[in-house]
Symmetry: C2
Subunit: 251 residues, 2 copies
């Protein structure tokens, strides 16, 4: 069934349903680029065109696409709509994924308000928080519900993806509850390292880490010449990291 139709290329035993992680991370970028081209009325695009739109070089793009199969035409390029569908199918966004958001603080609020969220590939089925003063609040066309209802919601709506936007403190406990309820993919905005059993995927988004990486390079750019270079331990006032963007679950 899923034999990628191409004949066997010999020893490497290509594809076989195994796409490199680095490639997987770029597929959504290609999908977006294809959508932009499609919206702009382009019907066919070369790997060079696509690569420019996606911000990568064309060799890498061609190699990435080759893991999916041979969807291009030599001498011509790629059919934008066709390739878009193939990538969307490979990623899995031709179906809708039910998502719960846990922790309706600043960030959870922002994500809940996020219009594009509910319409394409992902469907927010619940906003959850443990703070009684938040429960019942309406956000858009949804209402914040009690975190205690988690298990029922996951079962009822077949939720497989959870988004954690709580503060660091309750994040691991929330994570454990999500996993126990049957969620197998988690997007974590809380500034902690979550531990999960095998079979559960975790991705992390962390503002403070991103800023600190920028700061490192920035320091290289500006400083580089005259830094005091004090290997001794000075005052050391709060140069740590961020508490959290998140909201109210827990405590």
């Amino acid at each position: 069934m899923t034999r990628a139709s191409s004949r066997r290329p010999g020893p490497p035993t290509r594809t076989e349903r195994g796409i490199p992680e680095a490639t997987v991370a770029r597929l959504p970028v290609y999908l977006r680029a294809l959508t932009a081209l499609s919206d702009g009325g382009t019907a066919t695009a070369s790997s060079e065109d696509l690569a420019t739109a996606a911000g990568v070089n064309s060799a890498k793009l061609r190699k990435d696409l080759s893991y999916l199969g041979s969807y291009g035409t030599r001498g011509v390029g790629y059919d934008v709509e066709y390739l878009r569908y193939q990538i969307a199918r490979e990623i899995g966004v031709t179906q809708d994924w039910a998502v719960v958001i846990v922790g309706i603080g600043n960030l959870g609020h922002a994500l809940a308000n996020y219009s594009g969220f509910g319409t394409r590939g992902f469907r927010i089925v619940a906003l959850l928080d443990a703070d009684p003063t938040l429960i019942g609040e309406r956000i858009g066309d949804m209402e914040v519900r009690d975190f205690a209802e988690l298990e029922d919601i996951v079962k009822a709506d077949r939720v497989s993806i959870g988004v954690i936007t709580t503060p660091a403190g309750p994040a691991q406990e929330v994570c454990d509850r999500l996993v126990a309820a049957g969620v197998t993919s988690i997007l974590n905005f809380a500034p902690v390292v979550l531990s999960v059993p095998d079979g559960v995927d975790i991705r992390k988004v962390d503002l403070s880490i991103e800023l600190q990486i920028l700061a490192y390079h920035e320091q290289r750019k500006s400083g580089e010449a005259a830094l005091p270079q004090v290997p001794e331990l000075p005052a050391l006032n709060g140069l740590t990291d961020f508490p959290s963007v998140g909201g109210g679950v827990g405590a």
Copy 2:
């Protein structure tokens, strides 16, 4: 500019003030782990302890730390406070970095409200938007100012880091203005590929990409057995990506 020159063909051209990018990305994680240990009253930690707290394996952690110097003691481990300071200094968060946020929509609002932001290593000096209905609004102890004031603010406050939380549309233009004004590091939340001149660092945070990567793995876990497998092009209704979490700059 001391562009990382040496390209010697021999061994990897070690250190020379050049820390591998993968290591740089983990230093903030170590910093956070050290802070947690410190707050918990731990004075000394082995690479194994640290690695567990940071969610990596100990060999990788030791190798990462070795790029900074020999800050541990064999047979003992690392002094938590001392190592914390060394990493903070290496990253550059012993000084404060001035930051502007452009685009005060849902996400920009959330980041502006973000208490931990202003206190440790980074200082928000301005919230900017081009929407007249937003200008003047108070968020926390700050006020939304006109995007037109960008250049003055960057010069006055020596801003080197900009955060873009606009929709996709105006993001490139905002980016160009930031760069022209002198900003050399940008954290982009808008779902577009920004192009910048050499010497400017860009990092991207993209909710839809993260979710799509999760969806890919999720599909692997659940499906894998019975997918219709339709290589022909069907209806294809809006399986694209997200407009934006961002706010109001532009049009």
